[in-house]
């Protein structure tokens, strides 16, 4: 149950892109075509699934206060958590390199489809963000960490494939010239994020709306998250539904 809850929460409520804006750089840069978006999304799922549990182990057995007590009683007071940024990013960079080598060796076809995206991923904020959120939310077991990495990856995958599909369609629409390209992508993403906010009630039964604003205590009345039936928003939900069914089939 705990696993199921974390799984859906990380995909929809705490979606990497729509709630925390993580990995926006590659999200905007590589979302012009659905096929490339699928490649990058798959690579992100893969790397997050590997690095989050790995960093969990590092955090648990090396970095936290008292984590070194397995070395002996005299190490029990050490607190190395200030080193976590450097250790996490080193793990990620190494893993990405390693994954690249392994995939190249054992599955050249997968390598050809993922290959160019893998090096990009080392500097994708979603990856480091996954590890840092894992640390700050004090996830309890390694299995939960694995689950968290995998499901946040899926959330990111959903987001980039959805926006790529919309961008492919929007090429045929008459967008005001200064908004073309980047501007309209920002605004669509904003609308999609508003749509995703409606998932906030999903795990609380809907009676208490939970809004995941990353900072600042939101004491204001929360407006019901029902975006106007804007054509692009409708399109977004359609695309998302398609994607969800795809995933469940797999």
């Amino acid at each position: 149950m705990e696993h199921l809850e974390l799984f859906f929460k990380s995909i929809f409520v705490d979606n990497m892109v729509f709630a925390y804006f993580l990995g926006m750089c590659s999200y905007l840069a590589v979302s012009k075509k659905v096929s490339t978006a699928v490649g990058l999304g798959a690579a992100v799922i893969f790397v997050l699934t590997v690095t989050v549990p790995l960093n969990w182990l590092l955090d648990q057995y090396i970095l936290q206060r008292g984590a070194l007590s397995w070395l002996g009683a005299e190490y029990a007071d050490y607190d190395l958590s200030f080193l976590s940024f450097i250790l996490f990013i080193a793990t990620i960079a190494t893993m990405v390199q390693l994954v690249e080598i392994i995939v190249e060796k054992f599955s050249p076809s997968l390598y050809n489809s993922l290959g160019i995206f893998l090096p990009l991923i080392a500097v994708n904020c979603a990856i480091l963000g996954g590890s840092l959120f894992m640390q700050s939310r004090e996830i309890e077991t390694v299995a939960l960490a694995l689950n968290y990495g995998f499901s946040s990856g899926i959330g990111w995958f959903l987001a980039i494939v959805a926006i790529a599909a919309i961008r492919e369609k929007i090429r045929y629409s008459n967008v005001p010239a200064p908004l073309r390209g980047l501007g309209i992508t920002f605004i669509i993403t904003g609308l999609m994020a508003i749509g995703f906010m409606s998932f906030g009630g999903m795990l609380t039964g809907g009676d208490a709306e939970e809004v995941s604003a990353p900072i600042a205590e939101v004491s204001l009345p929360i407006p019901a998250a029902t975006p106007e039936l804007d054509p692009s928003a409708v399109q977004a939900t359609e695309v998302l539904e398609v994607e969800v069914s795809d995933i469940t089939e797999k």
Binding site: A90, C125, F186
Partner: protein, 215 residues
């Protein structure tokens, strides 16, 4: 400007408008949006990035001839991570509340694409002084957008700036609230950051037609 030659001052001034890292180069958006619900964290974030990018560019530029090109990404990441740890520890020591509020987003400066982008595009090919100017210029361009977004989101969303109630008191109905003004609670929610940046891009590109993207 006696101190800076014309070419050098271009390095600082260009990123502020026509070559802005956020709205034109599309770099560093990740952390830019999440922390702009209020003005104060936006400014702290901007200052942190100015520090990290300014110093980081100089360090990378000094080491540019001894870094083997195959492992340069890892070297760059280590340099940034070290600088970010310094920023993080300083914030924890002198502004603990604020560092709690910024939570993981200080750490995410490491993977801020502006930083890697400037290292790759500029510091690896230029001397320390010019790299420093380029770093500060780009970080300023990033900061400007952050402050604009933070300003509007805090003003329209909570009616305050730096926490001061400048539009009057919403509970006691003074100032603007007396004539029926309401805060737009939507502005403090994450999605509005995207839409505000979208509007900034819109305004900027309608003023400078050369920036409009081709289909």
């Amino acid at each position: 400007m006696g101190l800076l030659s014309k070419k050098d001052s271009k390095l600082i001034l260009d990123p502020l408008s026509d070559d802005n890292p956020i709205t034109i180069q599309v770099l560093g958006i990740c952390s830019a949006l999440a922390i702009t619900a209020q003005l104060k964290p936006s400014i702290v974030m901007a200052v942190s990035v100015i520090f990290v990018l300014g110093i980081g560019n100089v360090v990378i530029s000094l080491m540019r001839n001894i870094i083997p090109s195959k492992i340069r990404i890892i070297v760059q990441l280590i340099v940034v991570a070290t600088l970010v740890i310094i920023v993080d520890l300083i914030l924890k020591a002198f502004a603990y509340e604020l560092s709690k509020e910024l939570s993981v987003f200080i750490g995410l400066i490491i993977t801020n694409c502006i930083i890697m982008g400037r290292f790759e595009a500029f510091a690896l090919g230029n001397g320390p002084w010019r790299s420093f100017l380029d770093g500060v210029g780009n970080a300023l361009g990033y900061g400007v957008i952050l402050v604009i977004v933070g300003f509007f989101r805090e003003l329209l969303g909570s009616g305050t700036l730096f926490g001061f109630k400048i539009l009057g008191d919403s509970v006691e109905k003074t100032g603007l609230y007396a004539i029926g003004y309401e805060n737009n609670g939507f502005m403090v929610l994450p999605p509005m950051a995207l839409i505000v940046v979208g509007i900034i891009i819109w305004i900027q590109r309608s003023r400078n037609k050369a920036l409009i993207e081709e289909l």
